[in-house]
C-alpha cells in the first residue's frame, strides 16, 4: 500500500496524464469485456474490484507492461492483505518498540505477543488501514500545498496508531481468554498461560492494555478514547455473558448475537469508527464505517462457529468442537434447536458427557443449522458491503481500490475454510 501511495505521488508529479489514461483504459477494458452497464451495481462490484486491483498490481510490477498484463490479471485474485503488507510491516516495527520492557520476563512475554499478533494473519489492522484509505478525501481535492501534505501524513500516522491499539487490545483479550478457557495452545504454539503461567499471562495482558491506553492518549482525541474504552467494557461483558447464563439465555439467538457483538464485533466496529472520526468525517460516514466493522465481525464469528463443527472438511464433527465441549452454545445448534425442540433437553443437560455431544451433532446433521448459520453470515457480509457502497462517492483511485478490497474481505470472511 505504501508503495502504491508512493508511486501515486511519483505519478502525480510527473506522469499524471498518463496515469489517468491508464486508469481510464482499465475501466474501458472491463466494460468492454464484460458488457457492464456504466454504473456498476453492487453484485458486480466484486468482480470489478478484482479487475481494477490486479490491474494496478501489474502496473506496479512494471508500468510499461500493463497492456500485456491486463488480460491475465482478470483471473488474478485480489488480495486485501498484500495491499497493505508494506504498511503492516512498518506497523509491526512500531508495535515492537511500544511493548519494549526492561524487566526480562515481561520482555519475553511481549515477545510472545508478536508471535500471536504481528506474525498472525493481522486481520484487524488490514481492515483498519484499508478503511483509512477508503475514507480519504479525494487526493485530487487536496491542494499540492506542503503543509497540508504533512497533515495528511499525520492523519495516516494517527490512523495507523488506531490499528496498533486495536491489535494490542485484541491480543490482550486473547491472553485473558486463554486463562479463562484454560487453553493450552494458541495458533499452534503453546499459549502464554501454558508456557509462563496464568498469573503472568493475565498481567502481560494488562501490560498490553495499559500500553494501548498510553498510545490512545497520544492521539489526543477524547472521543476515540471513549470509543475504545467502551470496547474493553464490551469484551468483558461478552465474557461474563458467556460465563453466567440461564438456560433460557443460552438458548436465545438474540442473547447469542448480543454476546457475539460484544466479544468479537465491538472491537473492529468501534475502531473502524475511530478511523472515521480521526479523519474528520461526518457522522453519517462514521456510522457506515461502524456498520461495516460490526457486520464483518458478526459474519466472521458466525463462520468461526460453523468451522468449529466442520473444520476444514464439509462433514460434521471434523472440527475441533471446542465450543460445544466447553458447553458454549453457538448459532448452528441454536438453529437446529428451532427445527428439533427436543434438542433443548440435551443442551440443558450440558456437554460434560461426550455422548451428549454426539447426540447434539446427530440433531445438527439432520437440521439445516449449518446452512442457516452460513446464510446468516452471508446476510451480514452483504450488509457490510452495502455499508461501503453507501459511502459518499469518491473517484480517487486509491480510495476505490481500498473500498473494493474491503468488499472483497467480506466475501473472503464467509468463504474461508480455516
Amino acid at each position: 500500500m505504501l508503495f502504491a501511495r508512493g508511486l501515486t505521488r511519483v505519478v502525480r508529479s510527473g506522469y499524471s496524464r498518463s496515469r489517468w489514461i491508464l486508469c481510464y483504459n482499465g475501466h474501458q477494458l472491463l466494460r468492454h469485456t464484460n458488457h457492464f452497464p456504466a454504473p456498476i451495481h453492487s453484485s458486480e462490484q466484486v468482480l470489478g474490484c478484482r479487475v481494477i486491483y490486479s490491474w494496478v498490481s501489474s502496473a506496479l510490477s512494471g508500468i510499461g507492461k500493463q497492456a500485456h498484463h491486463q488480460s491475465s490479471s482478470l483471473e488474478e485474485q485480489l488480495d486485501p492483505f498484500s495491499l497493505v503488507a508494506d504498511e503492516l510491516s512498518i506497523l509491526a516495527n512500531r508495535l515492537r518498540s511500544m511493548v519494549v520492557a526492561e524487566v526480562p520476563k515481561l520482555a519475553s512475554a511481549a515477545e510472545y505477543f508478536f508471535k500471536m499478533g504481528v506474525e498472525g494473519k493481522r486481520f484487524r489492522p488490514t481492515v483498519l488501514l484499508l478503511m483509512a484509505t477508503a475514507l480519504n478525501l479525494p487526493m485530487s481535492r487536496l491542494p499540492p500545498d506542503a503543509t497540508l501534505h504533512t497533515s495528511s501524513g499525520e492523519l495516516r500516522t494517527r490512523q495507523q496508531c488506531v490499528a496498533e491499539i486495536t491489535e494490542m487490545i485484541h491480543v490482550a483479550s486473547l491472553l485473558h481468554d486463554d486463562v479463562l478457557d484454560d487453553a493450552d495452545t494458541r495458533r499452534g504454539i503453546g499459549s502464554l498461560n501454558f508456557v509462563m503461567g496464568n498469573k503472568l499471562a493475565v498481567l502481560a495482558g494488562d501490560f498490553l492494555l495499559s500500553r494501548a491506553c498510553v498510545a490512545l492518549a497520544s492521539l489526543k482525541n477524547t472521543e476515540v478514547v471513549s470509543l475504545l474504552a467502551t470496547v474493553v467494557e464490551h469484551l468483558v461483558t461478552g465474557e461474563t455473558m458467556q460465563m453466567s447464563t440461564t438456560s433460557d439465555q443460552r438458548c436465545s439467538m438474540e442473547y447469542y448475537m448480543q454476546k457475539t457483538y460484544y466479544k468479537t464485533a465491538s472491537l473492529i466496529s468501534n475502531s473502524c469508527k475511530a478511523i472515521a472520526l480521526l479523519a474528520g468525517q461526518t457522522t453519517e460516514v462514521s456510522i457506515m464505517a461502524f456498520e461495516y466493522g460490526k457486520n464483518l465481525g458478526l459474519a466472521y464469528q458466525l463462520i468461526d462457529d460453523v468451522l468449529d463443527f466442520t473444520g476444514t472438511s464439509t462433514s460434521l464433527g471434523k472440527g475441533s468442537l471446542t465450543d460445544i465441549s466447553h458447553g458454549i452454545i453457538t448459532a448452528p445448534i441454536l438453529f437446529a434447536m428451532e427445527e428439533f425442540p427436543e434438542l433443548r433437553a440435551v443442551v440443558d443437560q450440558g456437554f460434560d458427557n461426550s455422548a451428549n455431544v454426539d447426540l447434539a451433532l446427530e440433531y445438527l446433521g439432520k437440521s439445516h443449522g449449518i446452512q442457516r448459520t452460513r446464510d446468516l453470515a452471508r446476510k451480514h457480509a452483504n450488509l457490510a458491503s452495502a455499508a461501503i457502497d453507501s459511502l459518499p462517492r469518491n473517484d480517487d483511485e486509491d480510495v476505490q481500490i481500498s473500498r473494493r478490497a474491503l468488499v472483497e474481505l467480506t466475501q473472503r470472511v464467509i468463504t474461508r475454510t480455516k
Partner: protein, 460 residues
C-alpha cells in the same frame, strides 16, 4: 477495595458483600481482621479520620452506581461459590471488606491522598477556573479520579491473585489420569486435587473478569475526564505497575531468592516500590492538578509528593510485622495461615544486606539456619492430605517458592537492630521529601493533613 468517598451505592454493595462473606465465615473473623494491619500508629489513624472529614461525603458525584448495581451483584454471587477453595480472590475480597471497616484506613488512603492534593490547590483553582460551573466540573472530575485510583489498585490486587495451576501439575480438566499402580488412597488424593483444581480454575475466571471489569470501568471513566494527559498519566502508572509486578514474580519464583544479589539490593527495592506504589500515587496526584489546570511546577511537586508518600507508606507497611515481638502468620477465616511478611520486604532486605557485608558472619550458614527443615516437614510427608496441601500451598501467591522458617527469620531481623533502624531511616527520608514538596502549596487545612499523614509514618 473501593474508596468510601464517592458512592453510597458502593457502600451498599460492599455491605452486601460483607454480609455474604460474614455469613460464611467463622466467629473468629473479627479477631483475624485485627491482625491484618496491626494499628501501630494512632497518629496515622487520626490523620486519616481528619482527611475523611475534610474530603467529606460526595455521594452525588458517583458514576459507579450503575456499574455497581448490575455487575457487582454478580461478582458477589461468584465469590460465594469460591468459599472453601482458598483462592486468593476470596482472600483479596475479605481483606478489602475487612479493611474498609476502618482498621487502618488503608483501603482508601490512595484516593484520599488524591483528594487532599486536589483540595490543597483549592485556592489556586478559584483563579484557574473561569466560572463557578467550571470549578464544579473540575471538583467532580477530581473526585472521579480519586475513585479510579482506588479501582485501578483493586484491579491489580485482584489480577495478581490469579493462580498458576498447570505449572504445578494441577489440571482443571475432568479427565483424571489415574494409574493402576497407585493405591486407592493415592487415587483419592488425585481426585481431591482435581476437584480443588477445578474450583481454583473457577476462581481464576472470577479474578480475571473482576479485574477486567474494574479496568474497563477505569478506562471508561478516564475517557469521560476529557484529558489526554490524565489518560497518559494513569495508563503509564499501570504500565509501571506491571513492570514492578513482574519483578515481584521473579523474586517469588526463584528457588534460591535469599542467596541472590537481588535479595539485598536496595535500589531494586526502590525501583520496584516506585513501580508498584509510587508511580500510581504520584501520577494520580499530578493528574488531579492537571484537571485543575494548575501550572507545571506545582504539578511536579504534586507528583513527587505522591511518589514519596507512596514509598514511605510501602516501607511502613512492610515494617509492621516486625513491630511485634513474636512472629504470627496472618490468618483469615476459612483459610490456611500465610506468612506475615514477604522475603523481599524492606526489613529482611536490609537485614540480609547487613549480614552479607558483615565479614564476621558466615552468610551461607545463616541462610541454612533460616531455611531450617521444620518449615519443609509438611511438604515431605507422604500422607494424601499432606500431598494435597503441599501441592496447593506451593501455588499460594503469598508464599515464595523458597521454603523458609519465617519465625526464625523474624527473630533474626529483630535481633539485628540495624535492619529496623535503617527501615525507619528510609521511611523518614521519603516522608520528609514528600513534606518538602508540599512547601510550594499555599497554606490550607488539607496541606496540614498531608503533612500530618507523612509525619505519622515515622513519628509516634
Amino acid at each position: 477495595m473501593f474508596t468510601k468517598l464517592p458512592s453510597r451505592a458502593t457502600q451498599r454493595a460492599l455491605a452486601g458483600l460483607r454480609t455474604n462473606l460474614a455469613s460464611l465465615s467463622s466467629p473468629q473473623a473479627s479477631r483475624a481482621a485485627s491482625q491484618l494491619y496491626p494499628t501501630t500508629s494512632e497518629r496515622w489513624d487520626a490523620a486519616m479520620l481528619q482527611a475523611e472529614s475534610i474530603v467529606g461525603d460526595a455521594s452525588s458525584f458517583s458514576s459507579l452506581q450503575k456499574w455497581v448495581s448490575g455487575e457487582f451483584n454478580n461478582i458477589t454471587k461468584y465469590l460465594q461459590r469460591l468459599v472453601g477453595t482458598n483462592h486468593p480472590m476470596l482472600e483479596t475480597a475479605k481483606r478489602c471488606t475487612y479493611i474498609s471497616e476502618g482498621k487502618m484506613g488503608s483501603a482508601q488512603a490512595r484516593g484520599l491522598t488524591v483528594m487532599l492534593t486536589s483540595k490543597a490547590v483549592g485556592e489556586l483553582m478559584k483563579h484557574s477556573c473561569t466560572s463557578e460551573k467550571q470549578l464544579e466540573e473540575v471538583l467532580k472530575n477530581q473526585m472521579s479520579l480519586a475513585e479510579m485510583t482506588e479501582m485501578t489498585y483493586s484491579a491489580y490486587m485482584i489480577h495478581r491473585g490469579v493462580m498458576d495451576l498447570k505449572m504445578h501439575g494441577l489440571e482443571s480438566t475432568t479427565t483424571t489420569t489415574t494409574t493402576t499402580t497407585g493405591g486407592l488412597t493415592e487415587q483419592r488424593a488425585d481426585l481431591e486435587v482435581s476437584r480443588q483444581a477445578r474450583a481454583l480454575h473457577y476462581g481464576n475466571k472470577v479474578s480475571v473478569l473482576c479485574g477486567d471489569f474494574l479496568l474497563a470501568y477505569v478506562m471508561r471513566g478516564l475517557g469521560d475526564l476529557f484529558s489526554s494527559k490524565v489518560v497518559d498519566l494513569v495508563a503509564s502508572a499501570i504500565t509501571d505497575f506491571m513492570e514492578g509486578e513482574f519483578m515481584l514474580l521473579d523474586d517469588w519464583r526463584s528457588a534460591n531468592y535469599l542467596l541472590s544479589r537481588e535479595a539485598r539490593d536496595l535500589s531494586r527495592w526502590v525501583r520496584r516500590s516506585h513501580s508498584t506504589i509510587g508511580s500510581l500515587q504520584g501520577n494520580t496526584c499530578q493528574a488531579s492538578l492537571v484537571l485543575a489546570n494548575i501550572q507545571a511546577k506545582l504539578q511536579y511537586d504534586a507528583r513527587e509528593l505522591g511518589r514519596n508518600l507512596g514509598l514511605a507508606w510501602q516501607a511502613h507497611t512492610e515494617l509492621q510485622p516486625f513491630l511485634r515481638e513474636r512472629y504470627e502468620p496472618i490468618e483469615l477465616p476459612e483459610m490456611p495461615p500465610y506468612p506475615a511478611f514477604d522475603l523481599n520486604c524492606l526489613p529482611v532486605l536490609l537485614f540480609l544486606r547487613g549480614a552479607h557485608d558483615d565479614k564476621a558472619r558466615n552468610f551461607r550458614l545463616l541462610l541454612d539456619e533460616i531455611k531450617s527443615p521444620e518449615a519443609n516437614a509438611n511438604a515431605n510427608s507422604s500422607s494424601p492430605q499432606a500431598k494435597t496441601d503441599g501441592r496447593l500451598n506451593l501455588i499460594n501467591q503469598h508464599e515464595h517458592q523458597e521454603l523458609v522458617n519465617y519465625g526464625r527469620l523474624h527473630e533474626l531481623v529483630l535481633a539485628d537492630k540495624n535492619a529496623i533502624g535503617e527501615t525507619y531511616k528510609l521511611i523518614r527520608s521519603h516522608s520528609t521529601r514528600a513534606i518538602k514538596h508540599l512547601d510550594s502549596f499555599p497554606p490550607s487545612e488539607s496541606k496540614e493533613v498531608l503533612v500530618n499523614i507523612c509525619e505519622s509514618l515515622y513519628q509516634k
